[in-house]
């Protein structure tokens, strides 16, 4: 009997792999790109326009503008256009084409290094909208930060004067310091350990979807396995009984056979996920077995109750979708109504998903 079932497993595997090809690819796409759909609204920002006049007397002006433009919080929100004259800034802001403007005076950079600290001019209008208020506040905050930077440099200048360094030695020292500062600003994570909550959420979502869609794929394999069972045939069971096999023995053999096939299916899925750089814990290969046993025991039981393979397949499909959906396995519970969030803990699949998530990603 065992030999015959082993042979059947071998003969059945091509069908199982065909099933995986059909449904697995779709699931893999959802897992890989699902976050892009779910988080789409959070990655699109409305941009506002700023104008800026920078004199051509120092390359550091350009560097400063480039740095500000690349700051994450600025680049997604604000478009900074450089204009050729100071008057253009006033005109553009005045006629409402830009929300605000910045005018950097001639000799601004030199004034920083000599301690004169010339003032840059911020041109803005009374904020009529929340967006305008927010941008004005942002500009003023940056202006305050710039002033603080100037004060620091001024302090350094005074300190150097007190220690009797020459002006050229001072300039050399300042060049060195500014270079380091630029590096520091570019790599400012050294100062601020930034945590992007959305990125963390995306990562968690991917993990959860990988776990739940893997389970869903295994569960939906009922479409193939429904045709593997013989224990649902009364003729076969009569034959087995007269040959000395108890019904439970047949149930056990078939459950173990399907578990084995599901495991082979899972190995292929494990490899496919590895190929798309979703690395599951190695221990998953062992700890997934109880889940597979549970699934195949339930599917075998349903087969014995419903008898007809097509009835089993479609019942399994319908019930599987309902059970997975209400457990947050198809769509994260965070995106569903409060009812589902409250009801999920009453669904056993909710715990199976969490167990699998824990096993796969720790």
């Amino acid at each position: 009997m065992f030999k015959a079932y082993l042979k059947r497993i071998l003969l059945f595997m091509p069908f199982v792999l065909c099933y995986l090809m059909a449904f697995g690819f779709a699931a893999l796409c959802i897992v890989t790109y699902g976050d892009a759909f779910l988080f789409k609204d959070k990655s699109s920002f409305s941009a506002v326009r700023l104008v800026c006049y920078l004199p051509g007397d120092s390359d550091l002006n350009d560097l400063g503008l480039s740095l500000v433009s690349k700051i994450d919080s600025v680049k997604e929100t604000v478009i900074i256009d450089r204009v050729d004259t100071e008057e253009e800034v006033y005109d553009i802001v005045g006629n409402g084409e830009a929300i605000a403007g910045v005018v950097i005076p001639e000799g601004f950079i030199d004034s920083v290094f000599t301690g004169e600290n010339m003032q840059a001019t911020v041109v803005y209008r009374d904020g009529g909208t929340f967006m305008e208020h927010a941008v004005n506040d942002l500009i003023l905050t940056l202006s305050n930060l710039l002033g603080t930077g100037q004060s620091v440099i001024r302090t350094g200048y005074d300190y150097v004067n007190q220690t009797g360094y020459s002006s050229s030695e001072y300039r050399n020292a300042m060049d060195r310091i500014s270079e380091e500062s630029v590096t520091y600003v570019l790599d400012r994570n050294r100062l601020f350990d930034s945590k992007d909550q959305d990125a963390l959420q995306v990562f968690t979502l991917k993990e959860k979807m990988t776990a739940s869609y893997s389970l869903f794929l295994l569960m939906m394999s009922v479409f193939v396995f429904a045709f593997f069972y013989k224990g649902n045939s009364s003729a076969f069971m009569t034959r087995a009984k007269l040959s000395g096999y108890k019904p439970f023995s047949i149930y056990l053999i078939e459950t173990l056979s399907v578990t084995f096939m599901m495991y082979l299916l899972f190995l292929v899925m494990y490899g496919a996920l590895y190929a798309v750089r979703i690395h599951l814990n190695f221990k998953t290969l062992v700890f997934i077995i109880p889940v597979l046993l549970l699934f195949s025991a339930v599917i075998t039981g349903v087969c014995y109750l419903l008898k007809k393979p097509t009835a089993v397949a479609f019942t399994g499909f319908g019930a599987g979708i309902v059970v997975m959906y209400t457990a947050g396995g198809l769509m994260p519970l965070e995106y569903m109504s409060k009812f589902f969030t409250l009801a999920a803990p009453f669904n056993p699949m909710y715990y199976v998903i969490n167990y699998t998530l824990e096993v796969m990603f720790g």
């Binding site: 042979k7 003969l11 009364s234 009984k241 007269l242």
Partner: protein
Amino acid sequence: MVEIKDLTLNYKKSVLTGVNITADKGECIGLLGLNGSGKSTLLTAIAGIKKPAAGTIKVGGKVGFVTQENALIEELTGIDNLMMWSPLSKKDILKALTDSEAAVLKTRDFIDLKVRRMSGGMKKRLAITSVILEHPDVLLLDEPLAALDIPAKKDIISFIDTFKSGGGTVFVASHSEDIFAHCDRVYYLHDGKCEQLPEGQSIAGALNV
């Protein structure tokens, strides 16, 4: 031998009562009746699968039951199906197919075919062979000739004769007049009763068609 006394069986929404049949070694008992008259249920009860509501069934020896729907596994070959149920090795099974009473069924000719490629006659002969390899003393055949061509019918009838002559007891449920000619007694199941068909009465007459 088989001894059935005052048997009452509940099946579906009907009841079969007053079944009294005795079959000795080497005898063939035919069970005749319209669809749903309880023939298959009676065979299931003799096999010990279904418990009677009343009465007793005594069976001397091992029972082999060839059900109307075959219990074969379609994706496996004939020999794989035989090996599945038999404790014998492949070599011994192949030997038994030519040397034992199963030889009449000519199963050896198509033993390497996958079941799904076999004709209805081949499947039926394979199913009987599978049961015979377990050396039953009592053989129960449920509609063994249904939808078979003439050569297949001839082979199965020859086998029944061989099995009988070897001392085996056969119960066969059928609609086929051909097979009842080889039965020692025929019982007619109708209206929840089981009565022996008088000798010489035609089956068409019994069934009132």
